[in-house]
């Protein structure tokens, strides 16, 4: 008998609203500092222009920041006790969460001033028996486009509940 209930299966049919984030040089600098980047193209407009970008350019995996805002920029009463956005957490008896697999297909770079749109959908939900009990895998797919409609990235992220 699995742990994914009918209620959880109905939950999986939900649709997520589209989300837009206007990316600033501040957003880019924060993420760049947090990940130890030192290349001035992430901090200094002149350096970015000299390198052929339209403005300060984001580090490679910056779309992570956009998708986290798409999920977690909600009022605190819409968060689980562990801080996870409630809208992302299926109704399951297994609620301790960890990151599983991430897969990214990269398109155009993100620069300061871009407006990045995210479309989010639940791609799959399945369970496996782990060493310490059932594990439920919830895979979300995110598609990022910029204000010109160019693909910026597609990212599939699987969260594991145990």
């Amino acid at each position: 008998m699995g742990v994914i209930t009918e209620e959880a299966r109905r939950w999986a049919d939900r649709e997520y609203p589209p989300f837009e984030m206007q990316v600033t040089a501040t957003d880019i600098a924060r993420f760049a500092h947090a990940t130890g980047e030192t290349n001035p193209i992430h901090f200094d407009r002149e350096a970015a222009l000299a390198a052929g970008y339209a403005d300060v350019v984001a580090p490679t995996l910056f779309t992570y920041v956009v998708r986290m805002h798409a999920s977690a920029l909600v009022s605190p009463d819409q968060l689980e006790p562990d801080g996870s956005p409630s809208a992302d957490v299926p109704p399951l008896p297994t609620r301790r969460a960890m990151a599983g697999e991430t897969s990214v297909v990269r398109g155009e770079p993100v620069v300061s001033g871009d407006v990045i749109s995210v479309r989010k959908r639940l791609a799959s939900m399945y369970e496996k028996e782990g060493r310490s009990g059932p594990l439920v895998f919830v895979e979300m797919e995110f598609t990022f486009t910029n204000q010109r409609g160019d693909l910026v990235a597609r990212e599939n992220f699987t969260r594991i509940y145990r």
Binding site: Y64, A72, S84, P85, R106
Partner: protein, 132 residues
């Protein structure tokens, strides 16, 4: 055509030792609110971990940075897939490296990993870098 590394070539190892400040900055910069990266009592008492976890996505960034600093401006990340095989905790030292598995006219495929000094791989992945 610039020279990308050949099949079997190994990247220099990058050692990453994220501090509590680094973990906080990563959570704050991405608005990642999950308590297991900053709330020690919750992490140990509720989730049963020995300490704060180093974010999986931060380890993904480490893999990309390891490859980017090796390949330089010659190539650009096209795709990457990585998965977390064992938890990494605050205080762990992560040795990050990679090796070339495919080299062709368009670019290279890499295997990338982050491991603890005892050899435990915490994150492993594959990536495609294409020539600029």
């Amino acid at each position: 055509m610039s020279a990308l590394p050949a099949v079997g070539a190994e990247s220099p190892i990058q050692v990453r030792n994220p501090s509590a400040l680094d973990l906080f900055m990563f959570s704050a910069s991405s608005w990642l609110l999950h308590r297991i990266h900053y709330d020690t009592p919750f992490t140990t008492e509720h989730d049963g971990h020995p300490g704060l976890l180093i974010h999986g996505p931060l380890q993904g960034v480490y893999l990309v940075q390891t490859a980017e600093s090796w390949l330089g401006d010659q190539a650009r990340l096209a795709t990457i897939t990585y998965r977390h095989l064992a938890p990494a905790y605050l205080g762990d030292s992560l040795e990050c490296g990679g090796t070339v598995t495919v080299a062709d006219d368009e670019g290279v495929d890499l295997e990338l990993w982050a491991r603890k000094p005892d050899g435990t791989v915490t994150t492993s992945g594959t990536a495609r870098f294409t020539r600029r």
